[in-house]
Symmetry: C2
Subunit: 341 residues, 2 copies
DNA sequence: TTGTAGGCGTTATCAC
DNA sequence: GTGATAACGCCTACAA
C-alpha cells in the first residue's frame, strides 16, 4: 500500500503511529537491548507494515558508515570458473543482506574499480583471478579483502590447493606411463595458474622427469590460447605424449586442436585440464581434469569477508584451502609406446 | 596522501582551504552555472587533490535521491549468454560511473531481490531471462526497467529477433531437405525461448510441415535438459532427421546424447542450436547455431536505461531489436534419405 | 519507556 | 561570488 512514487520514511510512520521517529527506528532495528513498550511496538510495527515501510539503506549506510555491499572483482566472465565463484558469492551475500557490486577488470582498470568501490563505502572486496601483488600497495589499503585462489601474507584468502593440483596432474600422467610431458599455461602471472605449474614441475623433478623448455608453451588462458599452444606442441619434431593445461579453457582449446589435427585422444596423446567446468563433459572424449570447487570458493570468500567486517578489521588474515580432486575421464590414458602396425 | 582509515570529507577540504564546505561542493560539482572565483576554485581544487578527496557517493545519493547504481537480474550465470549480457552491461555502466548490483534469482526470489534493490535506491533494473509477466505487478512499479530479450508493452526492451531466429532455423533445416523436424525447448515460459519456438512452428506450418506433438520435447534449458530431451527423441520409433534446440546449452546436451548413442551428426541427424556461445565451436562436429549478440544486448540495455533515468522516467518505453544470424557449422547437413547399404 | 538534539557527508536555496 | 542554513533519511546519545 505504498504511496506511488516516493518511498515511505520512518518519519511518516512515526507521525501516523503517534510516536517520534527514533522510536520507529528503535522498534525496527532488531536491537535486543532496546526495550520498547509492547503496545507502542505493536502499533509501530502495524503501521510500518501497512505503509510498507522499508529503511533507506543509503541513509543507514551514511550514518552507520557501512554500505552493506561487497565488491567482487574478476578478470572476465567468459571463464565459467569466475562465474561460479560469483554465483556462490552472490548467494551467500544476498542471504546476509549484502549486495554484490560486480567489476570486470583487467590491468590498471582494477585500481579504478577499487576507487569507485571505495567511493561507495564498500564494506569489503573479493578478488579472483587477479594477482594482488600487481596492484599498487595503496589500492587495497584499509580495505577488507579476501583473495580467491591466491596465497597472501597480508590478506585473507580462500583457495583450492593449486600446488596439489599440479602434483596430482604429474602423478596421474606419470602413473599412466608418460615420460614426455608438456605444460600449457598462461604467460601472465595469475597466481593459481603459477602454483599449478609449480606443483607440476616439482613433482616431475622429484620423479626425475624434467621438462625441456620447448615443452612449456605459454598463451592466453583461454580457449584460443589453448588452441594455439597445442598447435605449437603438435608442431614439435618430437611430440609430447601427455599435456597438462593450466585450466580447462586452455585444455578445451587444446582438445579442439587435437581434433582438428587428427590426433587421437587419449591414444596418441593424453590431455589433462584443471577446474572441471561443465563443458569438460561435453567434448568427446570427455576431458580429464582436476576438480576445483569454484562455487564453494565464492561462498566461503563471502563468509570469511563478513566475519572480517563484523570484527571491524581486528582479525588477522585467515586462510582456507579446499581440496582438489582428480577426475579422470576420457582424455588421459596409458602411454602406448610406438604402435606396432 | 589520505589519512589512513577514515576518508577525507568535503568539510576538511573546506577548512584547509579556508572556505565553506558548500563552496567545495560547488567547485567539485562540474556545474557550469556555478560560477566561483578562479582563485578560490584553484585553491580548493589544489587542496582537494592533495588530500585525495573523493565525494562519498552514499551521501550524494541520499540528497540527490539517486544511487548511481543499476541492478541486473538473471536466472543464473551458468548460461554463458547471461554472462555475456552482464559483461556488456557492466562495461557501459562502469564507464558512466554506475555500479552494477548483480542478482541471481529464480522464481519468487526475484521479488525479494527487487525489494532489496529498491532499498538501495537503485536507479534502474535490467532483467534478462525472467519473464516480467510472471512478476506481481507491483514488483516493478515505479522502477526504471529494461527487459532483455523479451517483448513488452509496458517496459523498454532490448532484444534479439527471437521470432526470426525460429524462422531462420526452420528455413535452414527445410532447405536441407528435412521434413521430420523436432523441437527441444524448456518447459518454463521464458520469453525468448517461446518466441524462438513460435517462429519455428510458424515457419514450419507455413511450409506445410507440421510437427506432431511427440516431436516436441520439453526439459530444462540446460545441458542436462538437452541431454535428456534428445535421449527421448532418439528413443522414438521414428526418429526426427533434424532437431532445433531453444538454446545452445540444450543443443550441446543433445550433441552429447547423440555422441553417446552413436548417432552421427549430421549424417544421421541434423542439430541446430541458438545463441552461438563459445562452446559451440569446441565440440566435434562444431555446432550449427544462430548467433545472438548477447554482449551487445547488455551494453544497449544499459545505454537505454541510462537514457530513461536521465529523462526522469518521462520517456515512453522504447524497444530495440537486434538481428540474428545463422551460423551453419558442422551439425547441420543435407537430409540423407534411407541409406542404401 | 520515549522524545529531543545532533550528526553522518552531501547538495540546494537562499541571503549577503 | 560566497557563505550560512536547511534538507536527505536514518541512528546514537542523552534527557525527560
Amino acid at each position: 500500500m505504498r504511496i506511488s512514487n516516493s518511498r515511505v520514511t520512518a518519519t511518516e510512520v512515526a507521525r501516523k503511529a503517534g510516536v517520534s521517529q527514533p522510536t520507529v527506528s528503535l522498534v525496527l532495528s532488531r536491537n535486543p537491548k532496546a526495550r520498547v513498550a509492547p503496545a507502542t511496538r505493536a502499533r509501530v510495527l502495524k503501521i510500518a507494515q501497512e505503509l510498507g515501510y522499508r529503511p533507506n539503506r543509503l541513509a543507514q549506510g551514511l550514518v552507520r558508515r557501512r554500505s552493506y555491499a561487497l565488491g567482487v572483482i574478476v578478470p572476465g566472465f567468459d571463464n565459467p570458473v569466475y562465474a561460479a565463484v560469483i554465483s556462490g558469492a552472490e548467494k551467500v551475500a544476498a542471504q546476509a543482506g549484502y549486495a554484490v557490486l560486480l567489476c570486470e577488470a583487467k590491468g590498471s582498470e582494477v585500481v579504478q574499480h577499487l576507487e569507485a568501490l571505495r567511493d561507495r563505502q564498500i564494506d569489503g572486496v573479493i578478488i579472483a583471478g587477479i594477482a594482488a601483488s600487481t596492484l599498487p600497495a595503496a589500492a587495497l589499503d584499509g580495505l577488507n579483502v579476501v583473495l580467491v585462489n591466491q596465497p597472501s601474507e597480508k590478506f585473507s584468502t580462500v583457495g583450492s590447493d593449486s600446488l596439489k593440483a599440479g602434483t596430482i596432474a604429474a602423478e596421474h600422467l606419470l602413473a599412466l606411463g608418460h615420460r614426455r610431458l608438456a605444460f600449457l599455461g598462461p604467460a601472465d602471472a595469475i597466481p593459481a595458474f603459477r602454483l599449478r605449474e609449480r606443483g607440476f614441475f616439482q613433482a616431475l623433478r622429484g620423479a626425475g622427469v624434467p621438462l625441456s623448455s620447448e615443452l612449456i608453451q605459454r598463451a592466453a588462458a583461454t580457449v584460443a590460447g589453448g588452441l594455439a599452444g597445442m598447435r605449437a606442441l603438435l608442431a614439435l619434431s618430437e611430440r609430447p605424449t601427455a599435456v597438462f593445461c593450466a585450466n580447462d579453457l586452455m585444455a578445451l582449446g587444446a582438445h579442439k586442436a587435437c581434433s582438428v589435427a587428427g590426433v587421437g585422444l587419449p591414444r596418441d596423446l593424453s590431455l589433462l585440464g584443471c577446474d572441471d567446468i561443465e563443458m569438460a563433459q561435453l567434448v568427446t572424449p570427455e576431458l580429464s581434469t582436476i576438480a576445483v570447487p569454484a562455487r564453494e570458493l565464492g561462498a566461503r570468500a563471502v563468509r570469511l569477508l563478513l566475519k572480517q567486517i563484523d570484527a571491524h578489521g581486528a582479525l588477522p588474515p585467515a586462510s582456507q584451502l579446499l581440496a582438489v580432486k582428480l577426475v579422470a575421464r576420457g582424455t588421459t590414458g596409458q602411454h602406448a609406446p610406438a604402435q606396432p602396425r
